[in-house]
Amino acid sequence: MELNRREFLKGLGVLAGTLIITKPSISQAYSKGDAPSIYATGNKANEKVWKIYEERKKKHLPPPEEPYAVLVDVSKCIGCRRCEWACNEWNKNPNRPLKEFEASVHQKPSVFDKIRRPHAGNFTVVNRFYTKEGTPLYVKRQCMHCVHPACYSACLVEAYRKTPEGPVIYNKSVCLGCRYCMVACPFDIPAYEYYDPITPQITKCTMCYDRIVEGKVPACVEICTAGALTFGKRSEILKLAWERIHNNPGKYVHHVYGEKEVGGTSWLYISPVPFEEIGFPAVDETPIPEYSERFLFAVKLFEVVGAWPLVFGAYYQISRSRKKKQSIKEEKGEGYEKK
């Protein structure tokens, strides 16, 4: 009897075990071909940056005269991926030796074979595209730091801020993890820690806010030796971009991506080929927040001002006509109809 019960319990345990201990291992997921950075959790960079922002706000430190920006000259990028390495290093994301990053440009197969995007454990990626003539173009992608951020306007708990310095930063302590910011972002930048069950957060490029408030340039800009990245005040960067386009006729398309896209961004791109060919979405000049603003205004107007008189008016009208009917019936000697 005793033995039976023990065996029964053992059986139950095995059953429960097979149901619960089937956590998909990371190696299993690697075999699916996913980028390892998807599995990263617990990055502190966004949190750190938010703390600095709060402290500066408390101390009433004066904002810079003008927000900063970075110019990416696609024609100058050599695909060394040192910016990726420096970004991981500074933001304490999982990293590999610098040589492995630099080697991928000559490797076959290499990481460039696939178009990548930022994930929980990497804030920037360099992708390779080919022009019609077959020359490779390397395009760095990271958060564009919009002037009118879609993520900020989408967030229902105001977990985002557009800082006066330019970066768009994120506060995990109020975040609900609803991921609407990821839905709203026109550039598909915010990434989510899907493999953290309890305290998942959004991670994204901070434009190295912690560095630029100290007068330094972002980590990726600092390490770039190819001259593809230039940091400075936004108006000056914009001027530089147009100067390069005008001074090198035929070298660039006549377009600074980010000057007007979705109302302007803090990262600006110039390129020898049209931007749709190197993975940029064709977007209008309308800031994304405007799409929802109009609707929200209409709803609020309706709910606060419009609906109440309408509803009460209808109610009043109906109850009056009902009373009339009832009194007519009573006059005729009919009781209120049995329901």
């Binding site: 619960i20 899907y194 109906i318």
Partner: protein, 404 residues
Amino acid sequence: MRKNNTSWFREKILMGRTFGEFIRDNFTIGNMIAFIILIFGIYAMIYRLIYGLGPATNLSDEYPWGFWIGFDILVGIALAAPGLTVGTAIHLFGLKEYHHFAKPVALSSLLGYVFAIFALLFDLGRYYNLYVLLVWSWGFSSVLFLVGWHFFLYTNICLLEFAPVVFEWLDLKRVRDFFAKLVIWATIFGVIIAGGHQSALGGLYLVVPYKLHPLWYSALLPPFFLISAIFGGISIVIIEGTITHKAFKHQLKDFDEEDYNKKLIGLGKAVALALYTYLILKLLDFAHYEKWHYLKGFYGFWYIVELTAFVLVPALMFTSAVRNRLVWLVKLAAVLTAFGVIVNRLNISLIAFKWYVPFSQKYYPAWTEIALSAGVITLLVLTYRFVLNRMPVLYEHPKYKSEH
């Protein structure tokens, strides 16, 4: 005291049976199926809570919203609109001949919202932060903020609307009378709040003009969602009424079937009207934004299927049913309409979302995602049955009969 307590439990919860009898009576095939679905559902819930969204779902950085938002929230809330439509018509517009529907309708809206929010908690990465939304961190520029607050308010309104029934069951006359007086105010407030957030669910997709297929993206998304919630909600009233009146026949002693069928046809008329309005608006939107050239390929075909099979066809079915007084056709058309709302919401949230991504790389739900949703629906149905069995929803409580 304790003895008194147990007898209360036995009377109200076990319906006068002992616990053993209660279990034996509920040992049926239907319940076994429900039990099996629940096992898988609860397994998915625990799995999600322990290992997180990554292992438990097929969501990714590319597809941050999947089946739980698309089905549990967008479909669930649209189909939980009976309170908005029929409830308002009864309490506010004085359509007293439909009073028969008032209580079941309040119950289905209440349960629809409660379980949609329950399912939502599993989708939120930091569900324990939810109080932040209500207490101090207000993102006024967000459509989702409006949705969140309105869900909260509307659930409370549904509670108010249903409260009289609960207190009839508990036999607390004074409390019941207090809440009965509040119902009309709750309804007035409710129609505004519900109209606001049903349209806001469509408004959520206003910020993705580049990600949602142009055939579905429109500045009119909010009214589309509102109107489809209206016809979806009334369809659910028809379907639910049909099922409950079969399953709970024993509760309906003086039930006038002919009169009831007349009411169903009346509801069918309302659905047809909403469907035609929706169709005209859709065509207007189509012509205004000159979407002709998008009709090529799969998405064009799928758009036409959605509009004809799930809007035009049910509208014609309802029209014919109302003209020829065919109750069975009303019921059939209601099923098709409700199914059409499901198709529309899944189209917007999953299929036409990021339409430029090839099908091989598209999101499809993991089995755990479907299991959790199925589990939540099962819980909803079981709760609905639990309440119908005990509370005077389908029939009048003898004590309060004169007051309805």
